[in-house]
């Protein structure tokens, strides 16, 4: 019985959402607001149970009730720094929020900068150039050599398109036009994949309506 009610509610909400394709209406807005509300509520409750309680409340309680006091007290330091976020609510002490923000930004940047440079720049440049050493060693097939050269042309011409310190005329203009072609191919591929992704969602909902709700398949 519970499953049946669940299926009917899900079917009703699915139809409410798809009713937007005809035009905006109260049923669509009801389903949309319900979805947003439930998502936020679920997220908050889960964050409290999986984050706040085990990572802040339990260590805090253990630290203040433990006797004799031990190293557990050190856990009060990050908890206290976290609590400084709420200083924003008291106008006279609002400046205190700068400390947790500064710590977060410092840690975040310190972690991100070297790793992002390594993952997204050095490794990508390496990946673009390595096939040329393999060409030199004679280990690549004809199609792989063509792919490596095409990749290099694509990278250089696309980067040229985004290089605005030189006017895009003459050779630079020609190379940047080649870059536009590569960009367009990239956007076309992204559009095709997006269509596939969106249609997949529709297929799943139609399958649900025909199978679980109407029992037609």
């Amino acid at each position: 019985m519970e499953k049946l009610i669940g299926v009917w509610i899900a079917a009703f909400l699915t139809l409410c959402i798809y009713s937007f394709l005809y035009r905006d209406n109260p049923f669509y807005r009801f389903a949309e607001h319900l979805f947003v509300g439930i998502s936020v509520g679920y997220g908050i409750v889960l964050s409290i149970h999986q984050g706040l309680i085990p990572l802040a409340w339990t260590p805090f309680w253990q630290a203040i009730t433990q006797w004799p006091p031990g190293w557990g007290l050190t856990k009060l330091i990050p908890i206290a720094i976290g609590l400084l976020f709420f200083a924003r609510l008291i106008p006279n002490y609002a400046w205190l929020i700068r400390y947790p923000i500064a710590i977060l930004m410092g840690i975040g940047s310190g972690l991100a900068i070297p790793n992002v440079m390594q993952a997204d720049i050095f490794r990508q440049v390496h990946g673009t150039l390595v096939p040329f050493s393999q060409i030199h060693a004679g280990t690549l097939s004809g199609s792989e050599i063509f792919g490596a050269i095409l990749m290099l042309i694509g990278v250089i011409s696309t980067l040229t398109y985004f290089f605005f310190s030189v006017e895009h005329r003459g050779v630079v203009g020609g190379v940047s036009k080649v870059g536009i072609i590569f960009l367009m191919i990239g956007f076309g591929s992204a559009f095709g994949n997006t269509v596939m992704g969106r249609v997949s969602l529709l297929i799943q909902r139609v399958e649900f309506l025909l199978q679980d709700w109407l029992h037609l398949i």
Partner: protein, 273 residues
């Protein structure tokens, strides 16, 4: 006629798309699936792992992406369980907690895998990057207990698994930027092997990582899931849905051509006037 095509009510296109989905779904049409290289690489990697190896699967998606990513998760888990590869499940996304649990339960039920022996589901912890990095030191510090609040120390499968050193592969099923975070922080820092299964919307961003081997394998949307189902010889939801998908692609293809032909003919007529 051309003017009518150019001014067609978009709701007629919606009806055509709906029919292109409903009719093949009712008729249960099926097309053969061709396997792409990135999906095969992931399959081959799992095939080459000895039994008793450990993989970690991150269910980093919500209900809006489960149509594409849940079949991937199910197919991958079936493969691991059939090969007696141990699986640790987790998520960095709040909505992923229940979805990941359900997917693991479903795959375990069909393969006879046992909770705590063949697989462990850790659930969700907030903090994304802090969680990823923390697990690199000690998993137990981040997840003291599993999803059902059983302490990790009491779970037989977790014996000897301390951090990424004991994990042979991380598979991220993602609908957002979590795969990039796994690559940036965990592949770069710990040299951990990463694979991904992502939605069609973000697949284009993943190919550069495949070429540099920062990703050892990649499943692309519903197609990737159907390919993996074909590889493990267990056609399921994704294979069925991919056949329906082909009809919609044909329709979209036709509409794009029709729209462009009408546009250029009308443009030429306007120039001649």
């Amino acid at each position: 006629m051309l003017k009518q095509i150019m001014q067609i009510d978009r709701r007629i296109i919606f009806i055509l798309v709906a029919l292109a989905v409903i009719i093949p779904t009712l008729l249960k049409v099926s097309f053969p699936i061709t396997i792409s290289e990135p999906t095969r690489k992931l399959y081959d990697y799992i095939e080459d792992l000895p039994s008793g190896s450990t993989v970690l699967i991150a269910f980093d998606y919500g209900p809006s992406s489960m149509a594409e990513l849940q079949p991937m998760g199910t197919a991958f888990l079936r493969h691991c369980f059939q090969k007696k590869i141990r699986v640790i499940g987790m998520t960095l996304v709040t909505e992923g907690a229940t979805l990941g649990y359900e997917t693991m339960q479903e795959a375990a039920k069909t393969t006879g895998a046992i909770d705590g022996v063949d697989y462990v589901y850790l659930g969700f912890r907030p903090g994304t990057i802090q969680v990823m990095l923390g697990m690199g030191t000690t998993i137990n510090n981040i997840f003291e207990s599993d999803y059902k609040e059983k302490p990790l120390a009491e779970i037989p499968m977790m014996e000897g698994i301390k951090n990424y050193d004991q994990i042979d592969l991380i598979l991220d099923l993602a609908s957002s930027s979590t795969t990039e975070a796994w690559i940036t922080y965990i592949n770069t820092r710990y040299n951990q092997k990463i694979a991904a299964g992502v939605t069609g919307v973000i697949i284009s961003q993943m190919y550069p990582y495949l070429q540099t081997e920062q990703l050892i394998g990649l499943m692309s949307g519903l197609l990737g899931a159907a390919e993996y189902e074909t590889l493990i010889e267990t056609p399921a939801k994704a294979t069925k849905r991919m056949s329906v998908q082909s009809f919609v692609h044909l329709l979209v293809f036709g509409l794009v051509i029709l729209g462009n032909v009408a546009f250029f003919i009308q443009k030429r007529e306007n120039e001649n006037v």
